[in-house]
Structure formats: C-alpha cells, structure tokens
C-alpha cells in the first residue's frame, strides 16, 4: 500500500504548502488532478457501457433462444462479446481502479493531517520530496470541523450545518452524476423494464446512498474529495457531450455517442435505432457485412445529430435489414 500512499501523502503535502497551507484547496486540486489522470479510464468505461447497451438486443435474443440451457447461453454470450470485441467487465474496471485511489487518499488524509502523535509518527519517511517536513504537522481544522474525522453531528449550530451539508452534497452530486451519465436503456417489447434498465435504476438509488453513508462515516476530507470528484466528473461528461441533461431536467442537450475503439479483428457494434428498439438491430450472423471500410470503426446511431455519423449508421442499419 505504501507505493500508493507515499506519493499521495507527498502530493497532498506539496499542494498544501503551495496553496498557502490550505488543506481543503490542496484536496480540491488533488482531486481535479486525479480526475484528469483517470480521464482515459472514464472514456473507456463510457465506451464499454455504450457497447454493452448496444448489445442488449442481441443478448436478449440469446437469452430467449437458450433459456433452458444456461451453459450454452453463457458460451454464446462470450462468443458474442468476442465477436464484437467487447469486454463485459470493461465498465467495472475503471471503477475498481478508482477504489485504491479512494483508499490511498483516505489514508493520505489521515496520515498527512495527523491529529495525534501515533498518527503523525507514521508520516515519517513517507514524504518523498525533501523539505516538506517544514509544513508538518498540517492544519486539520476547517470551518470548525476536523478534516480527519467524520462530521460531528453533536457540534454547535454552524458547524453542524456544514457537517450535514457535506454528506447531502455528496449524495446529490453522486445522484446527479449517475443520472446525467447513465445510458438510457431500451424497454423490452412487452414494455417491462429490462435487466439493464432495472440495474441502472437501482444503481442511481443505491450509489448516492452508499456515498452519503461514506461521507457520514469517514473523514470530512474524503467527503470533499467525493463532492469535487463528482462535479469534475459531471463537467468532463458535459464537455464530452455525454451528459444527458434532458433526462434529469427535461430540457437541454441529449448525449452523443463516442466512437468505440473496436479491435481490428472484431465486428462493428450493431447500430441502434431507438424508435424501433431491438428489432432494428443488425443480426449477429450478418453484422460482419456492416463492418466499416477500415475494419475497426463501428457505425453508430447518433442522437446528437452528427450528420456524417448518422448517415453511416443508417446505411449500416439498412444493410443489416437487407441481409435479413
């Protein structure tokens, strides 16, 4: 763990000294830096979830076809993922990679803002840049709260308000980020929500509650990280054109698709036509014909109105229909 913790502690301490011994500012800048460094992972996660969404109709068909043979179903699904070059856990990997960052940051806050001798003594030897010892120990109080401790719900009024506001802000921004960035899955033909839709809905409820619980239970410094990270995430998705403001506020731009990076030997992902749902998706057996000329770029439906990509997508869908 030291290989994560020591650079984190050093970076936090360095930022603390650069920003006038202000730990909150250091955490904010640190968070922004982390979000930018993990930006490629965010894009990968987005592409992966987009690809999985597009394969849903295919998967549905397979489930119906092999509903009595689970082993066969699993084989076929894996075959499908292979053919389209989709990693089914690719969406989870970036999230999992962020966990060590959470943990590292939490431990870094606890160590760097040591409030007692036993905590501070463990900071010794972790600072990798000479000369940072001069700012030790760091100021751990912010607006009446100890940044290393959970919000004190027994604190007097103004501090209590901030103590409650942070977990609430964490929940709201987590919910907003999920709501803005989760893909809108297609309902099944029978009108009932499909598995992905159900999962999306439960994630949108569970994750904000979980992060709210973390914000109440863990250090105030970590809550600041959560809030800033969510806000930066929303900003990143907005810049990428992937934030679905219409789904949350009823107005604003809808998200546009990212160009997937399929493997050279994999098929292009099936195009999506929201008006007709799964029926319009190109069949797996014929989809190789819809491979684009360079072999590794898929043709996608484009809700944001990119004319070129939309026309490619329509051509692809038409070819798929003809082939059927």
């Amino acid at each position: 763990m030291d290989f994560i913790l020591n650079p984190f502690v050093t970076l936090l301490t360095f930022l603390y000294s650069v920003f006038g011994n202000n730990m909150v500012l250091a955490i904010v800048v640190f968070t922004i830096a982390v979000r930018f460094l993990t930006y490629p992972l965010t894009v990968q996660q987005l592409r992966s979830s987009q690809a999985m969404q597009k394969l849903q109709p295919e998967l549905k068909k397979l489930q119906e076809k092999h509903k009595n043979d689970r082993e066969k179903l699993a084989q076929e699904q894996m075959q499908l993922y292979r053919e389209y070059g989709v990693n089914p856990v690719g969406g989870c990997l970036p999230l999992l990679i962020q966990f060590p960052i959470f943990i590292g940051l939490y431990q870094a806050i606890i160590h760097a803002l040591a409030a007692t001798p036993t905590h501070l003594i463990d900071l010794s030897g972790r600072l990798l840049i000479p000369g940072l010892d001069g700012v030790i120990p760091m100021q751990n109080m912010w607006l009446g709260m100890d940044l290393t401790q959970p919000p004190n719900l027994a604190a007097p009024f103004p501090t209590l308000l901030i103590g409650i506001a942070l977990p609430v802000l964490t929940m709201v921004t987590t919910w907003l980020q999920f709501k803005l960035t989760m893909p809108t899955p297609q309902p099944a033909e029978d009108g009932k929500p499909n598995q992905m839709q159900a999962m999306t809905q439960s994630m949108t409820t569970i994750m904000p509650l979980m992060y709210g619980f973390f914000a109440l239970s863990f250090s105030v410094g970590l809550s600041i990280y959560f809030v800033v990270s969510n806000l930066v995430g929303i900003a990143q998705y907005t810049i990428m054109g992937r934030a679905n403001y219409k789904a949350v506020f009823g107005f604003g731009p809808e998200p546009r698709d990212l160009q997937p990076r399929n493997k050279p030997d994999s098929k292009a992902l099936p195009a999506k036509n929201e008006s007709k749902g799964p029926e319009t998706v190109s069949g797996r057996a014929n989809s190789s014909r819809s491979r684009s000329s360079n072999g590794n770029r898929a043709n996608n439906g484009n809700r944001a109105g990119n004319a070129n990509r939309a026309s490619r997508s329509n051509r692809s869908t038409q070819r798929a229909k003809r082939s059927r």
Partner: protein, 394 residues
C-alpha cells in the same frame, strides 16, 4: 447478460465496497504511547497506557497489591487479593505520567480532557468525575511548586492550582504540545508542534522568549550547563542558549528527531525516525561534531530516547527490537539471548534504567522497555546481558 456474469459483477462490487469500507474505517490507533515513571517510596513503576493504569513491582514485574491502613493486603468479595487499580466513574484513557502535589495524592490528566486527583495508597479517585481541562492530554505534565502545568494536544498550555485545580494562567501556542514542558527555575520551556520553543514565566504565564526552529518540536529539550539541546521534525538538532533562545549550533539528521538526546561523558546520543543513532560532541567553536552515526533500525525508525550505560547504548526501535550498541562505535552487539530482544509490539515510549537497589530489590541494572502490545506492556531486560527478567502483560 448471463446469471453467472451478473453474480460475478455483484460479488466484485460487494468486495470492492467492503474493501473500501474496511480501508476507510478510522485507524484503530491509540492517541499516544505509554508513560513510565517511578513513584512512591519504596519506588514502584507507574505505567499509564490507554485504559491501563498499573503500579508494578520493579523486582518481579507483578502488579502491586492494594494494602489497608495496617499494611495488610486487601481482599475482594471472593477473598482474592486486590491489586492496585483505579476505578473511574467515567471512561478515560491516559498517556501521561502523574505528578504528586503531596506524597499520597497524584494528579492524572486524561486524553478525555479531565484531571483526576487519586490517592496513591488506596487508588481512590478523590474528585469524582474529575475536573475539566480545555484540551486532550498526550504528554506528561510538570509540577512547579503548587502549579500543575499541562500541555494540550490542540493549542495551549495551562497552569492549574494543584490543590483546587483552578486555572491560574493559559498560554496559547497555536498548535499542540505533545511533550513534557521543561522546568528551569522560574521558567517553563514549552516545545510546540508549531515549530516554536517558548520560554514562559512560571508564575505569570508571560512569554520571556521564543525561537522558531523550522520544524515541529515533539520532544523535551535536554538542559546542560546553560544550553538546551532539542531535536525537531525538521531533521535538525539545535543547541540553544537557555537564557535568551539564541541558536548556537545546529546539526542535520537523516530523519525526524522525536527523542530527547541523552548525555554521557560529554557525548550526546540521539536517534531519529529513519533509524539512525548519532554520537555527537561539541567542538572548540561550539559547533556539533559528529563522532559516529549508524543506521540501526531502517524499517520503522526510533522514537524513544536511547539509554546510555557504561559501555553500551540501548535503543528501543519501532521495528520491535531492542538493540544493544557499542558506545564507542555504534556497532550492534550480537544478540546472545536467542531473540529475546525481539518484542511483541512497537517501542515508542521512553525506556527507564533502574540501577541496583536494595529498596527496589534489584541486584543488577535493568532497562524497562514498554511496547504497544498488551501481551508485553512492559519488559525488564538486564543491561549487561540483555536477558529478559520479567514481562508485565495485560
């Protein structure tokens, strides 16, 4: 998506949440470490660590039994001998030594911002739930006449009337006081985590001088012939004029210095948190001159002040080993005790050297080493051979 894959995702998500939750739970660390002192007549070892307050017989490491006014051992309701233990009405943890305003009354400050008056002979708390203090206490207080001077974990030092515990003065330090203040006549020297060493009038609490040492001062200065020697977390050892705070010399160490230097025959011995031990002297120009330095415990460093004996230096390290070093070169002396110098927990607290004494019933010098493991809260090693004499566990 197959059921298998969904289950896999669910398990992975749950494991990730559990990992995050377990890694982010507040570290189960004590706020400080053991405080060891000798109290009473005949002398007993007083150990305070978290919820453990014990009086220990130095000859055998047994808990001292509670005696009645006639000197007989008190018995509990089942007829068993009672050991000396303080029963408090409120939850309290202790990391500091007691002070004695009179021979049978001690004052003990808790981390939970309370000070208790306790009878030494009967272990009774004389002031109920204790008197309130303005901060958490992790360092030993000092007694100056009737003034009980105690530093707080946050940002101040207070002087209390030792009898009625009224506050006589308070001195703001901006950051915490994590070590025992040093009393020099009518001046108390207060090392602070704010990088400053303050000299304050004991009677009034008014500052006489202060010096910024560029690094947190977490150890008590050593006073020798008008000079103060104090290390800092800024990787420096300073020689300071005790009259006015002028810096006379400084020496750069490898790591943070969290121990008070030890002096023997004109040589200063100190250790740092990078695991180095140093032997220094003062040259004719008043500057530090290095006799030797040696890295002894590289993995976790050394917090405790070294013990200097006739030929050896005894160093308790955070890597759970007690080292015997040659005093002239710093070379480790081979362990002839089959690993008995390895202990169960980190050594953070300062050690105690007990010289042979009839009243203590000790016939050869022993060094008392405290660890943060309850299996070996206190161990007595013979100085000459490093043999483990006894172990006190809780």
């Amino acid at each position: 998506m197959s059921t298998k894959l969904r289950r896999l995702r669910l398990v992975a998500a749950l494991m990730a949440v559990l990992l995050l939750a377990s890694a982010c739970v507040a570290l189960p660390l004590e706020a400080g470490w053991t405080s060891l002192s000798l109290v009473g007549d005949p002398a007993r070892i007083f150990l305070a660590y978290s919820d453990v307050i014990a009086l220990i017989n130095p000859s055998n490491g047994q808990a001292v039994q509670l005696l009645d006014a006639n000197g007989n051992v008190r018995l509990d309701s089942e007829g068993n001998p009672r050991v000396w233990s303080v029963e408090l009405q409120t939850a309290a943890t202790f990391y500091s030594a007691p002070v004695f305003p009179d021979p049978d009354t001690m004052l003990m400050a808790s981390y939970e911002q309370r000070v208790f008056q306790i009878g030494l002979s009967d272990a009774r708390v004389l002031n109920g739930e204790g008197a309130e203090l303005p901060g958490n206490v992790v360092s030993d207080p000092v007694l100056a006449g009737n003034r009980f001077i105690v530093g707080f974990n946050q940002n101040s030092v207070s002087a209390l009337d030792a009898e009625n515990l009224d506050t006589l003065w308070s001195f703001e330090t901006e950051r915490g006081v994590w070590t025992q203040p040093l009393l020099l006549d009518d001046t108390v020297l207060i090392p602070t985590m704010n990088h400053i060493l303050h000299a304050v009038n004991v009677e009034t609490g008014v500052e006489r001088w202060s010096v910024d040492l560029g690094g947190a001062v977490a150890s008590t200065p050593l006073h020798v012939g008008g000079d103060l020697f104090v290390g800092t977390l800024g990787r420096r050892l300073f020689r300071i004029d005790a009259r006015n705070g002028d810096i006379l010399a400084e020496y750069e160490t490898q790591g943070w210095v969290w121990c008070t230097p030890a002096l023997a025959d004109g040589v200063l011995y100190l250790a740092d948190l990078d695991g180095y031990v140093y032997a220094l002297t003062i040259d004719s120009n008043g500057a530090f001159e290095e006799l030797w330095r040696r890295q002894v415990a590289s993995s976790r460093g050394i917090r405790a002040t070294p013990i200097v004996t006739e030929d050896t230096i005894i160093v308790g390290a955070r890597d759970r080993v007690v080292y015997w070093l040659d005093r002239s070169t710093g070379a480790p002396i081979a362990d002839g005790q089959d690993g008995q110098r390895a202990v169960a927990g980190e050594i953070l607290a300062d050690m105690l050297l007990l010289e042979p004494s009839e009243s203590l019933n000790i016939d050869e010098p022993v060094v008392l080493v405290s660890t943060n493991s309850r299996e070996e809260l206190l161990i007595a090693f013979t100085v000459d051979t490093g043999r483990r004499e006894w172990t006190f566990r809780r």
